[in-house]
Every structure is written in C-alpha cells, then in structure tokens.
Amino acid sequence: MSMAWEVVIGLEVHVQLNTRSKIFCACSTAFGAEPNAHTCPVCLAMPGALPVLNEAAVDKAIAFGLAIGAELNHRSVFARKNYFYPDLPKGYQISQYEIPIVGRGHLDVLLPDGIEKRINITRAHLEEDAGKSLHEAYAGESGIDLNRAGTPLLEIVSEPDMRSAVEAVAYLKKLHALVRYLDISDGNMQEGSFRCDANVSLRRPSEPFGTRAEIKNLNSFRFLEKAISYEILRQQDILEAGGKVVQETRLFDANHGETRSMRSKEEANDYRYFPDPDLLPLQLEEKRIERVRVALPELPDARKARFIEQYGLPVYDAAVLTAARELADYYEIVATGQDAKLAANWVMGELLGALNKAGLEIDSCPVAAEELRQLLARIADQTISGKIAKEIFEILFAEGGSVDAIIEARGLRQITDSSAIVAMIDEIIQKNPQQAADYRAGKEKLFGFFVGQVMKASQGKANPDQVNALLRERLQAQ
C-alpha cells in the first residue's frame, strides 16, 4: 500500500432556473416540445435580434445568493464566451465572467458520520443554456434542436473544498435540496435541469494541488460518486507509476462505470471573453434585493432549527427530515396531532427504508402522508399495536388502500378485551405447568416466554400492555 493520497474535489453545477420564458427572449422554456417549436429570432441568432434580460432569472439568482449568505454584486456584467458548436447558434454563449451576479458564499453540509462541514462557494453566475444535437438519426449529419437554447442557467462554482466522493455527494444533495426549497429550479436531473461537472485531483497531504481532470455532465448522485471513485483510482495508478495526470475534460460512461477522455485537443480552449455590447451592466437595486429577501421561504437550516425546537427532535432526525423540502412537508403532515418523535421514527425508519428498497424518491411515495398519520393515530388510540402497524404499512406501501379499511378487512383490530386476553393466558399457563411452576419459584426471565406465547396465540393482536399486566396477575394467582 502506497502512502495516502488526498483527493481534492470542486464542483460546477448548472441549474436550470424554472422561469416560464427564456433568459433573453419570450420563448417558452417548457421541456418536451416538438423540435424548434420554442424558438424565435433572438434564440436562433438571427442578425439584428437583441437580447432583453428576464427579471425572474435575476430574482432567482438573488434568492440563491441570499440563501448561501453570499455577497451580491450590485453591478454585474454579461460577457460573450466564444466557441463554435452547432447547438450554440450565435457562435458565443452569453454568460458572466469577470463580475458575476453572486459572489462568495457557503453551504454547511451534514456528512453521513454526523459531522457538519462548510463548503465554500466561489461564485454563481447567470448564463444561457445551449440547444441539443442529435447524432444518431441522420447519416453524415447532425440534427439541431434549439428549444433549450436560451433557457436560463445559474452556474454555481464551489471551492475545491471536498475531500471524498461522499463529501461531494453530500454537497450536491444539499445544493439540490436548496434549489428545490427556493423553488428556483425543478431540479429534475433526468431532464438535465440540474447537472454537475466535477474537478478531481490528487495530492500528497499539505502539498500544492495536483493537476485536475474535469468530468462533465454528471446527472445523478450515484454517477457523481462512481465517476469520482473511478477517477481517484485512475489518477492514483498514473501517479504511482511515475506518470503525470493530463489536464483534460473527461466523460463518465455509466454503462462501463469509467471516465473517458473527451477532448484530446492539445491547445487549450480560448474563449476570448469580452463584455457583450448587446447588454448593459446589470444593476441590482436594494429595493429588488429586499423584495426577494422578504419572499424567501423557510430554508433547510431554519427549518431544521424549528423541527428541533417545535417537535423536540434530536439534531440528527431534524437534519434528515429537512434534507428535502418534500420530505419535510411529508413529516409535518404525519406529525400533526401525533407523537412527534414516533412520527420521525416512522418516516425515517419504515418509510425511508421502504422507499430506498424500492428505489423511489419521496415525491413518488405510494403512501400518502395523511395515511401514515392515520396509521399513527390508530396506534395512539390503541386500535392496533405498533407491530401490527408495521404489517399494515407494508400493505399500504405495496397495495395502497386506507388504514381503516385494511384493519377491518383483515381483522387486525387489537384485542383489548381483558376477559379474552385472560382466557388466552389461562390456557397457556395450563399448557405449560412446568414453566409456570419455575416462574413462581423465582425464574423471572420465563416471563418473556409467556408473553411470547400469548402474543403468538393472539396473532400479535393482543394489547401488549394489558398482556403484561394480566399475565403477571394470573401467574402469581395460581
């Protein structure tokens, strides 16, 4: 085993802002339309067409900046990033270069080991998305669809502050949750609304940064983790064989689980950025910033603090439950009128476990929050025991239905009739005279054996508290 390498990771995340119209023209940003149906002279780069900035894109960028405690630049400048590719009809992308709208900020990320780590964010800037190229269908030609061209993007650049794939995933998840909380993006990773590039390099601890490779277009948390893990091994092999890592762009091949060199261009890209003469500098007035600040929703960290305060939850529970806006909303419905800690245990245990096993996210959860709340209410009013509730939950998850209907249809109502329980107890004591005698002679731990027998006889439906109390009474009586 070689001396340890330290991995250094920085992420660039492209977030599509969920405005109705494009950033510089009034075309729709809706996904999935006929090719080129959402285009106009501006986003097709017709000569003489001029861009006009969408104020919703500006407001959403401000909201993000406020949420990460960033400095907002009251004056920012749009620049042309020049390169030629057919899905970029102008021959340049309108972006921000020297002065972005959002300056330095940070995100505090909870790692799986329970430690919180601060990841610094260098900047976030507004730019336009490119169109799409389709390479398969036409022999010797590529088809170009410019519906996406001009969709507003916020590119969020982190400092190289992450030291493992796990940290990178935790940061990306937190960022994803944040844009969903803020409702500045739909965050749909399959449709490309939230895409990530990872800069990965290795170094010996406390030495200067090594040469990095940039892995492009990672569109899932799992791919990010796999791509980084692969890249670490690849660079480690090169360095330990005495070689040098080449600075280059690489693509993650999900089918083979490896990264591959994408551009072997020796000459570095020369984007020749310059201020776009079609756009004036963007001035942010205090009034606008204040308006956005006032409209900000409750953010993950504030919601976490409230969960601790209002529901009396442990820090860990509150952090897990507020990690996604949808999950936090779900929990708050379940906890309404119920034991808050019990609700947290159910959501974090049974529910997240079942979702994880089924490969589902909370927003496609088959059990409605109201139904889970009802299940807890039926435990609380002693209609069912906790053990039976777990069975019902599995039925709800797999087959749907309502809690009360399942209880009735399957006869799962808890037995709370004392005489019925006593009858069962007496029968079991009669069948096990030796154990009963031993118990009375002082073998206390046989009590558990009797509890088990009674629960078995009642198919788990006897009220456990009553079983305990009545069993003790009957065992002693005889």
């Binding site: 405005t19 109705r20 119209s21 023209c25 009034a26 075309c27 729709s28 006929e34 090719p35 080129n36 149906a37 285009t39 106009c40 002279p41 097709l44 006009v52 900035l53 969408n54 104020e55 919703a56 894109a57 500006v58 400048v77 020049n82 030629f84 590719y85 057919p86 020297e98 002065i99 190229s133 389709l134 390479h135 269908a137 036409y138 010797g140 030609e141 590529s142 088809g143 170009i144 669809d145 410019l146 994408m262 551009r263 020369d270 020749r272 201020p275 003469p277 756009l279 004036l280 500098p281 963007l282 001035q283």
Partner: protein, 90 residues
C-alpha cells in the same frame, strides 16, 4: 499567429492572403500597444460605452411568433423540424 486567429474565427484564409492579413493585424496590434501605454490605474474597467442600466423584461411568454417553418426557411438543410448540419461528434 494569423493562422491561429483564422482558425479560432473559423475563417478560411488562403496562404497567399496571409502576408497581407499579417500586415493589417500588425497595425491593429500596434494601435492596441499604444493604448496599453495609457495610464489606467484606479480607473474602473468600462463594460459598456452607454451610461445606462440594463432594462428587465417581465417573465411572460410571447403571444404570437413567426411559425417554425418561417423561422427555418433560410436554413440550408432541415428535416423533421430539426436543423441539419455536417456531422459533429467526438
């Protein structure tokens, strides 16, 4: 240098035009060099010659627009609503 700039700009430049282009570019570079000698310390870089602020547009969809067919009419090649271009793939 001239070849590289032509390549970056995607301009086909025949070899016999290179000397003339080089002379013209040199004149531009010398003008730039002259401007670079102007003391600019403490002067904020100008992003735009007009001293105006960027107007913003409300986030609304345009009601009517040219049809896709009209918009694509001048494309050299198009099919199935797509612009067709010489194959680009890594």
């Amino acid at each position: 240098m001239v070849k590289r700039i032509a390549q970056l700009s995607r301009i086909a430049l025949p070899d016999n035009e290179l000397p003339q282009m080089a002379r013209q570019l040199e004149r531009i570079f010398s003008l730039v060099a002259e401007m670079q000698s102007v003391p600019t310390e403490g002067v904020e870089p100008m992003a735009h010659p007009l001293d105006l602020r960027q107007p913003l547009r409300p986030d609304e969809l345009r009601q009517e627009c040219l049809s896709r067919e009209d918009l694509m009419a001048s494309a050299p090649r198009a099919q199935d609503g797509l612009f067709l271009v010489p194959k680009v793939i890594e």
